[in-house]
Symmetry: D2
Subunit: 142 residues, 4 copies
């Protein structure tokens, strides 16, 4: 098949450790496939907040998620520690794509890889040019 | 034991049908115990909104949940349809307690029973006398 | 942009009504983007079980999800009723792709569209030819 | 009111660090009240597994949760780190009650306190005397 092989840790940049929870596992005894997206969401949000972007609270910057996806390579589940690596997939004028690789415990090969494509919008929902500090920060993930 | 027996449907008032989801089941193949509270939350919120209380949006009425609990009587899980019945447990000056019985499919005996104790607070977080329309509505659950 | 426009209901087949829950909404006051995948999961699982496939319990047929994705077109959130429509995206020897369109309340235009690519595996995890009854059922979604 | 004040860290024993996730926050911008129970579940399960109890996999020891509860003292939410402290609430012949205090970041006062009452059952679901190693382990939480 043409499916690309799982990535290794060296192919990703900033990492965050995200422990699994008991209820992450579904009836198959592994992490439910929707839960992977919650880990993507958490890793990306943490990173953005650490860059100084105000994405929550009463007047947040809004980065609408317009597309997301995941390729599942191997099982993971509670009580695994998941290490989420980030990298920049695409950088546009008002949009960007952050790619996330998830690695179980000490594994060097990703158990899953996904992405979020986000568009920066103003209060009226209109796509807006990405702010310069975000562009600088995103380029550290390239 | 002194534990009270599971209630029957006739002991509850307004009912809402809440379908289960695949991921509600955990590794034991039944609904995770935390998920019951999400069903309580949903049934109570739906009922409050249907009474005309504005509990979401930019300027919501805030009913802080100060205590919650659940007694689990029997297993439930995907793909069960859960019927959540509500009743008034306690009505105070600024607080009230809503009790919820969950019934699987056509069962007449509750698989779980729980409650939310909520306090009505103003924008500063100060407990405030319950509004008259809420008192009227809650009394229909008595 | 080259992004395809949101689909309409007529472009999807079997529908399931999936109510939202209070906790589906995140801090932005709309359904969290990971939750959409739980709705996909639920709609697909319900349909498969209704076709007679035994996908849970002690000895389930295993349809591994190897890839999933979602394009978000418009906001949805509690207390919306979501109508999930299914259609067949691809049918292979041991794999298939089910596409899901989500429609808010009475909307005729999808608020989100996604897919699950699943591989049928035996107890050892080896991809196995899809059983004939599943092929027949999937073709009703074509 | 007769409500007991929030506990301090010194009143709890074994601690586990449990990071919050973006989707833990609901429309009120704080951790959804059901999510607290997922943190209880995770802290208790991790501790039990670390004591050598086999509570997952094909032939797990089953500790049915028969009752749970939570008192909410103060808000918490993403991106807080939650420190969950455990202590033994009650030890019976076939049942036990584990109490959990949740502490935000560096706070010394609990933001929430709850419990799980669990019954040890055999494969037929019959309550069974707690195994000696579990009793020994639970007493370290007393």
């Amino acid at each position: 098949m043409s499916r690309p092989p799982p990535a290794r840790r060296a192919e990703y940049r900033a990492f965050r450790a995200l422990p699994t929870r008991w209820m992450d596992n579904d009836a198959y005894g592994h992490m439910n496939n929707a839960t992977y997206f919650s880990l993507f969401d958490t890793a990306i949000s943490l990173w953005q907040m650490e860059q100084g972007l105000v994405i929550d609270g009463p007047d947040p910057m809004r980065f609408l998620v317009v597309e997301s996806g995941c390729r599942y390579h191997a099982e993971a589940g509670f009580p695994d520690m998941i290490h989420a690596g980030l990298r920049l997939g695409h950088l546009g004028r008002s949009s960007f794509r952050t790619e996330v690789g998830l690695f179980r415990n000490d594994d060097d090969t990703a158990c899953a890889e996904g992405f979020f494509a986000q568009v920066y919008v103003d209060a009226a929902g209109t796509p807006t040019a990405l702010p310069a500090p975000l562009i600088t920060a995103l380029n550290t993930l390239a």
